[in-house]
């Protein structure tokens, strides 16, 4: 059996999308990479709606073919019901040659991890990182517990990538993991064996038609602050509630166990409630997480980089979490490559990595934030510089997402910061009057 070495160039903590990306890219660049993962993949994780940008990364990682083979559900776009307005967008309008997906994340993440291994990263699953010491450049110690042999150990490395997701080991260790004051949401989600879904044009179709007429991702507003997602996958439908603290207090007051409360909350969501088949909720599939949005004080330092959710996570509303994992994982790999090739670049690499991540996060945060709420004014300049580095297409897609959930006013301050920055626009969405439910079958 392979054993964990005492040393490596890079240690990556966590084998989700961001860890697998960093490990893969660094292994391809010829470095000795060790990845430690607590779970045994395929492991459970939420977040199934995937933007079509991801294929750019899977090409770089050599994972595209393996992912295509799985035939994940292709989605055609998004449907929102927000402020009583139905709106749709489709990825076709954005020149993507590759599909957006609704994936089974356990399989998706497993493939990414195996691909990293094929590219030469040394993967050790069921190994829990317990502690770490960051001692400056070229000198990090990672302490772990190997559950397979019951032994503790230490591995030393030049660079550390923290891709531990919400566990956020480095940020917690250094004491700068901070809740996002403006996004203190709670999420409860579960999986149904089937449900009707909304197709482009507004037709509501039965689950059995999902291959002939692909689904859109459904996003339905709940009250003023909350919302709900509906994601049709190959063999199940993911439905999740995102609730404000007040809404969650109400949720807790309902009768019954978590599953029963989840179901009765679903029954109150306009439109969605008419599409669900309540008795097909998969027993034991309901999960909850609170305060998943974090605001990062620091994103990298002398010899360490934070990626994916371990760096920051905003809000699932724009389906950008997994994409962010790829992006930040890849950026960390490039920053480390640059640093290891040329010592004199390393401070600059830390600086640039931090600025880029901060910018990206600022943009996605603005696109998700309820209008008029922002406790972190210092983020605006970062958002501006990130937007300026985006292609017109990318900007248009984000802007369209903002239109769908009524967030475009958040950009006003950006325009004030730089009057020369061209206002974003988009015509790539359609307002719908109503959904077309199938005529109910005749009663026999």
């Amino acid at each position: 059996m392979k054993s964990i070495p005492l040393k490596s160039d890079v240690v990556v903590i966590g084998g989700g999308p961001s860890g697998s990306t960093a490990a893969n890219a660094l292994a391809q660049a010829g470095y000795d990479v060790v990845l430690l993962e607590k779970a045994k993949h395929p492991r459970e994780v939420v977040g199934e709606s995937i933007l079509p940008f991801v294929w750019k990364y899977t090409d770089l990682l050599g994972a595209t073919k393996a992912l295509q083979k799985m035939r994940f559900m292709e989605k055609s776009g998004g449907t929102t019901f927000w402020n009583n307005q139905l709106t749709q967008m489709t990825f076709r309008d954005f020149d993507f040659q590759t599909p957006a997906l609704h994936v089974e994340r356990n399989i998706f993440d497993d493939i990414l991890l195996r691909t990293a291994e094929q590219k030469g990263a040394r993967i050790f699953e069921e190994v829990i990182v317990k502690d770490l010491q960051l001692n400056g450049y070229d000198n990090q110690d990672v302490f772990y517990f190997d559950t397979l042999n019951g032994k503790s150990g230490k591995i030393s490395c030049r660079y550390l990538v923290d891709a531990s997701g919400q566990a956020a080991l480095v940020a917690k260790k250094l004491g700068f993991r901070e809740y996002d004051k403006d996004l203190r949401f709670m999420s409860i989600w579960g999986y149904f064996k089937e449900s009707d879904y909304v197709a482009l044009g507004g037709d509501v179709l039965p689950f059995s038609q999902r291959y002939e007429t692909p689904p859109t991702t459904g996003i339905y507003q709940i009250g003023e602050w909350g919302w709900c997602w509906q994601i049709v996958q190959n063999d199940q439908v993911s439905v999740g509630l995102v609730l404000s603290p007040e809404q969650f207090s109400e949720f807790k007051l309902q009768d019954g166990n978590l599953e029963e409360r989840f179901l009765s909350a679903c029954r109150k969501v306009p439109l969605l409630s008419d599409m669900l088949k309540y008795d097909t909720l998969i027993p034991g599939s309901v999960r909850a997480i609170r305060d998943f949005a974090y605001y990062p004080r620091e994103l990298a330092g002398k010899g360490w980089f934070l990626t994916g959710d371990a760096a920051a996570f905003v809000d699932p509303i724009n389906s950008a979490g997994v994409l962010g994992g790829f992006y930040t994982g890849y950026m960390a790999a490039m920053a480390i490559d640059d640093s290891l090739k040329n010592n004199k670049n390393r401070d600059y690499a830390v600086e640039r990595f931090s600025e880029l991540l901060r910018g990206r996060m600022a943009v996605y945060r603005l696109s998700a934030l309820p209008v008029g709420v922002n406790s972190y004014q210092e983020m605006y300049p970062y958002a501006l510089s990130c937007l300026k580095q985006m292609s017109d297409l990318e900007k248009e897609l984000i802007y369209t997402q903002m239109i769908l959930i009524n967030r475009t006013e958040n950009l006003d301050i950006i325009y004030q910061l730089d009057p020369d920055f061209r206002r974003l626009t988009s015509k790539k969405y359609t307002l719908l009057d109503e959904l077309h439910f199938p005529a109910s079958s005749p009663v026999v």
Partner: protein
């Protein structure tokens, strides 16, 4: 050490062609082709380009300069020269 305009432009163009536009016709990449807004340079390639400018010409661009001065070959040449002048 300052580098002359044409040398900077040629070096950068050569880098862009080999790294990000392999197989494309160099004549299609003019001094004013929009690189960022046109989607030739994304965030990853910009990151690489900035690293390249740093090691090649010894210039460090800050976030603001990266956001505002990399959209065309002319812009890049200007900012590299300006920064070298200061150094």
């Amino acid at each position: 050490m300052a580098t002359n305009t044409q040398t900077i432009k040629d070096t950068v163009k050569n880098y862009l062609m080999t790294e990000f536009l392999p197989g494309e016709d160099p004549n299609d990449l003019t001094d004013t082709t929009p690189l960022v807004t046109g989607g030739i340079l994304d965030s990853i390639s910009t990151f690489k380009l900035v690293g390249f400018l740093h090691s090649k010409f010894d210039v460090k661009l800050n976030a603001n300069e990266i956001a505002n001065h990399l959209n065309t070959l002319n812009d890049i040449t200007d900012i590299v020269q300006a920064k070298q002048g200061v150094a």
